[in-house]
């Protein structure tokens, strides 16, 4: 019944400027193929946590283990910089809230999808283009846009392109930071639907940071609730939302619009 753990954070702590505690005592596991949501208001430490997991910010204490090829787990922050970059590249995809942070704006849409594949060893131009076209189709970007720059795309299309770029190398773990944040509601629905089916189809484990409880309910199997840098409640997503235990979670759920 137990599924392989693809990511484990233990005793994670991150302090800014010696006194602002962004994350403390964070312990959790992400199992293969599951979707875990991290909810909480701005400033609760969600994004900092994600940056520690994604190799973008070094924690002050604790460990982040990720499963690499062959299923073996490595301690991300014990690796040297080169080994860390390599482990991250093959095992983990990251989707930023702002697609401009995750895309290369100076290269074409096709190039954005193909670039991480080139880094991991595919060199044949025809093959790269084929894979890029396939990914554009999967994220519903018209094939004819393959040679266009992402800056000519709408926000929703840019976000879908970023998702293609992060999934193309076949990571086992996908981290998403407010992926629907800057989008219109109508565009959000399409993105959520796409994310849900891609994650299921590929069996990738996803950790999604969001302040939108509707997004959390639709996508997540489990939820972690963060407040002032700590996980104050965790459980099955529908249970946390329908029967919240902590005073803060109750407040959060009560303030959600019911439609």
């Amino acid at each position: 019944m137990s599924r392989a753990v693809v990511l484990r954070a233990s005793g994670l702590r991150k302090v800014f400027g010696g006194r602002v505690v962004a994350c403390a005592d964070i312990d959790f596991e992400l199992a293969a193929g599951e979707v875990v949501g991290i909810v909480g208001e701005s400033g609760s430490g969600k994004s900092t946590l994600l940056r520690c997991l994604a190799g973008l910010a070094a924690p002050d204490a604790g460990t982040v283990e990720i499963a690499i090829d062959g299923g073996e787990r490595v301690d991300l922050w014990q690796l040297d910089e080169v080994a860390r970059a390599q482990a991250l590249r093959s095992a983990l995809g990251l989707v930023h809230q702002n697609p401009r942070d995750g895309l290369k704006l100076g290269i074409s849409a096709g190039g954005n999808v193909a670039e991480p594949l080139m880094v991991s060893g595919i060199r044949h131009y025809g093959r790269l283009r084929e894979v890029a076209l396939d990914w554009l189709e999967r994220v519903e970007v018209p094939r004819r846009r393959i040679d266009d720059l992402p800056s000519t795309f709408s926000g929703g299309m840019q976000q879908r392109l970023q998702i293609a770029r992060s999934l193309a190398p076949g990571p086992r773990i996908l981290l998403l930071d407010e992926p629907t944040g800057g989008l219109d509601v109508s565009v959000q629905a399409r993105l959520l639907d796409l994310l849900r089916s891609l994650v299921r189809e590929l069996g990738v484990a996803a950790l999604i940071v969001t302040h939108d409880l509707g997004v959390a309910r639709l996508l997540a199997d489990r939820l972690l609730v963060m407040l002032r840098g700590r996980v104050i409640e965790a459980g099955l997503a529908d249970q946390v939302l329908d029967d919240p235990q902590a005073p803060y979670t109750q407040k959060l759920v009560a303030s959600m619009l019911r439609i």
Partner: protein
């Protein structure tokens, strides 16, 4: 008391209170509920509004945390206590063993009806083709017009959405089924087709617990009744 060897569901001393921190208030919804359900039984929960019928169903499904007692369901060969189980285990029990049919459809906006119904089957490894075939069969039984199958149900009438939801709930033949007013707001003909599905499930040994407000529906499907009273 040990559960009966053939019990599918076994509740012992189940209690549930809701604490509302912002108002410094605690409300007791369930106290000391015992229930055992065997294969092929359909137990109707009875009692006045506020007696905790829905709360009991949700606690059984793991949607609410039980405050006291044990909530055991037979999953494969063993009895698993839903109260306090790891979320991964609850999700697995829900996928194959424990079905929940409510009146309300909650799905993503763009997914076509046929895929919504087929999805739980695909999730347990059924081929897409076989899952869609089964989905079509159920939608047909529930009188959802084939012209609607390729459309997302967001714009359907309430009754149509409810029937899509029921089809989805019956897609995987779970050995335990929770029914929360499955025929509410359906006309007689449509209610009949839902009742037929419930009877079929019971005949193949499904253990069921349900809330049925309609006395006639209850008389047709329930094999016995558990009456809850307000606990506070």
């Amino acid at each position: 008391m040990e559960p009966l060897t053939d019990a599918m569901v076994c509740l012992r001393g189940v209690g549930k209170s809701f604490t509302f921190h912002s108002r410094g208030l605690s409300v007791e919804a369930l106290r000391g509920v015992d229930l055992e359900v065997r294969r092929g039984e359909c137990v109707a929960l009875d009692g006045p509004s506020g007696a905790g019928k829905s709360t009991l169903m949700r606690t059984l499904y793991g949607n609410y945390l039980a405050g006291a007692g044990t909530v055991r369901v037979r999953h494969g060969g063993e009895l698993i206590n839903i109260a306090g189980a790891d979320p991964h285990i609850i999700l697995e029990v829900r996928r194959t063993t424990l079905g929940y049919i409510s009146q309300f459809l909650r799905v993503l906006p763009r997914v076509p009806t046929l895929d919504i119904v087929a999805e739980p089957l695909i999730a347990i490894g059924t081929s897409r083709e076989a899952a869609r075939e089964r989905a079509a069969e159920l939608l047909e039984k529930l009188n959802v017009a084939p012209a609607l199958w390729s459309l997302p149900p967001a714009t359907f009438s309430g009754g149509e959405q409810q029937r899509v939801n029921i089809a989805r709930g019956f897609a995987v033949p779970c050995p335990i089924l929770l029914l929360d007013e499955p025929t509410a707001s359906l006309d007689a003909a449509n209610a009949d087709s839902v009742i037929a599905l419930i009877e079929e499930a019971r005949a193949r040994g499904t253990a069921m617990i349900g809330i049925f407000h309609d006395a006639q529906v209850k008389a047709r499907v329930a094999t016995r009744q558990l009456t809850l009273t307000r606990s506070s």
